[in-house]
């Protein structure tokens, strides 16, 4: 019989300080997140220096809470998995240095996890992944389509060429005078709205799975500008609905096309924007019609968390991947396979 194993995950790539413990790669035994949203709201976005200061304040607290919640001692753990990149460099290195210190003091191996691999592996905490698998990762920093043919094997088939989807949401929210973070507000306004302004869709080349959202953002800004020149006021509901329709249309259409081309058995969405109701409904409807199982983790596992890092770290642990005390934050780390 195989012995149970426990992986401690640590995530500090942006503005959440998080620690979690996952058993046997799929069972959450603790999941702790200290969010900075309230502090960062003052600035209308994440200020890297402020984020780093908060991480230092929170890091040992979330680690202690993760162990306490799991009722485990460091000696019960098998490895420490930490987000190595991508992300804000000053934020990443708090988690990494805490992970290295903790691993060193307790004689544990350390594993550096790619943040996106973490988002994908959040699904492993809900149901076993089936391959080939297609993952749509949409967040404030990412818009990516990834195909996986087996555990630890990633093929990036499409990504944004300019703004991430979540970034476009935040920028348009600012145009509409909505507070940070803007995504949930736009989602709500769009769902409430009966009609929508027609905004363009950026399809790019016919065979491309890449995305572009900067044109859409400019279209919203121009629309407001034109109305203002005519002395008319903007209807935030209609603009939010039109913007969201454009984003969702492109994301759903490209994801569906990729699922067909790669003949995938499972489609998953991840990242903060995957919590968007409008996007969820659209993808669910499309894949139900197509007959391909589609999953989105609950919000707590969609937004940044450490359970997903521990889940990906578990798969790496099983594959024998190990880091060392020279691990460093890699803000532009590419998504690399470990199998």
């Amino acid at each position: 019989m195989k012995k149970d194993y426990y992986i401690l995950g640590i995530e500090t790539s942006c503005d959440e300080t998080a620690a979690a413990i996952v058993k046997n790669g799929h069972e959450i035994v603790s999941n702790v997140v200290a969010s900075q949203i309230q502090s960062q709201q003052r600035f209308g976005g994440v200020v890297p220096e402020i984020a780093s200061r908060h991480h230092v304040e929170q890091i040992t607290l979330v680690l202690e809470e993760a162990l306490r919640e799991a009722q485990l001692e460091p000696a019960d753990l098998d490895a420490v998995a930490v987000t190595e990149g991508p992300g804000l460099v000053g934020a990443l290195l708090i988690g990494i240095n805490a992970a290295k210190a903790f691993a060193f003091a307790n004689g544990l191996p350390i594993i550096g996890v790619h943040h996106i691999a973490g988002h994908v592996y959040a699904n492993q905490l809900l149901q076993p992944m089936e391959f080939p698998l297609l993952a749509l990762i949409v967040s404030g920093g990412h818009t990516e389509l990834v195909v996986m043919k087996e555990h630890g094997k990633f093929e990036l088939i499409g990504e944004t060429r300019d703004d991430a989807a979540g970034e476009a949401y935040d920028k348009v929210a600012r145009v509409l005078g909505l507070p940070y973070p803007g995504g949930p507000h736009i989602d709500r306004l769009a769902l409430e709205s009966g009609s929508a302004i027609e905004f363009p869709r950026a399809w790019l080349e016919p065979d491309s799975y890449d995305f572009s959202f900067s044109g859409l953002k400019s279209a919203v800004i121009n629309y407001r500008h034109n109305l203002e020149q005519r002395g008319e006021t903007i209807d935030p509901h209609q603009v939010a609905a039109g913007f969201q329709e454009s984003v969702i249309d492109v994301l759903t259409t490209k994801t569906l096309k990729a699922a067909r081309e790669y003949k995938v058995k499972q489609v998953i969405a991840a990242g903060g924007v995957a919590a968007n109701q409008g996007l969820r409904f659209s993808l669910e409807a499309a894949f139900e019609k197509e007959g391909i199982p589609f999953y989105v983790p609950p919000i707590s596992l969609c937004t940044d968390n450490a359970a997903m890092i521990a889940a990906a770290g578990s798969s790496m642990f099983e594959a024998g991947v190990r880091g060392n005390m020279e691990m460093n934050g890699r803000p532009g780390m590419p998504l690399k396979s470990w199998n």
Partner: protein
């Protein structure tokens, strides 16, 4: 009593193990190294060389700033994580005091100084009685002119310490003339063994989790936000 000392507050890196007041091993480098990559590696090597385990540590001393925001955070994060998980006391010591420690035996006025750009420095003024340091001017973020003004008022010879003094040397000399002298290069680097020497005389931090760097300066975004708030309440 076994101490681990860590100083990553500025460009130099220094880590040391001291047992019962005796230095077991120390690693100090002034090469512009990446602390995030190097500091834990240097600590690991230090333990190997001294042939001790992390569990053999009784207390941890860390240089708490001021200095490079990122540098100070790396040292503090490592120190508080080690102290918390090993269940050992932690003592934070001013990075400027550590620097001034190099002139501990001078018996005069000492000014440790670190460049903070835009003609500002992180600095303090200490007085040595030949065996200990007494604080004369508190650690802070000062305009170089303001600092030199306060030193002039003291009217005594001052020894400047710190790797960045070369940046301000001419200005210091023209302001203070013969009163100013400068520590030779080997006495400008922070030494983790000195950090431990000071830490042995201090109380441990009461709330380990709440221990954070002494930045001695609010973040720029926060300063702007505070200024805006103030404007808002005035109008």
């Amino acid at each position: 009593m076994m101490w681990l000392g860590i100083d990553t507050a500025n460009t130099p890196l220094s880590v040391a193990l001291v047992r019962d007041g005796v230095l077991l091993a120390e690693y100090t480098s002034s090469m512009a190294l990446n602390h995030s990559l190097r500091a834990m590696k240097a600590i690991e090597e230090l333990f190997e060389k001294a042939d001790v385990t992390p569990q053999a540590i009784d207390a941890i001393a860390v240089s708490e700033g001021p200095g490079s925001y990122t540098g100070v955070r790396i040292g503090v994060t490592i120190a508080k994580t080690l102290a918390w998980t090993l269940g050992k006391p932690l003592v934070g010591i001013s990075s400027l005091r550590v620097m001034a420690g190099n002139a501990l035996l001078s018996g005069g006025i000492i000014c440790p100084l670190v460049d903070a750009r835009r003609r500002h420095v992180y600095s303090a003024i200490y007085k040595s009685d030949g065996s200990g340091l007494q604080q004369v001017k508190e650690d802070g973020h000062y305009a170089i002119e303001t600092l030199l003004e306060s030193i002039k008022e003291i009217g005594q010879p001052v020894l400047f310490v710190g790797a960045d003094i070369s940046l301000y040397r001419e200005e210091i000399e023209s302001a203070l003339g013969e009163l100013a002298s400068f520590a030779p290069q080997p006495f400008q680097l922070p030494r983790a063994s000195l950090l431990i020497h000071f830490a042995e005389q201090e109380e441990q931090e009461e709330d380990l989790h709440a221990f954070v760097p002494e930045y001695r300066r609010v973040a720029e975004a926060e300063a702007n936000w505070l200024a805006q708030q103030k404007k808002g309440t005035q109008s």
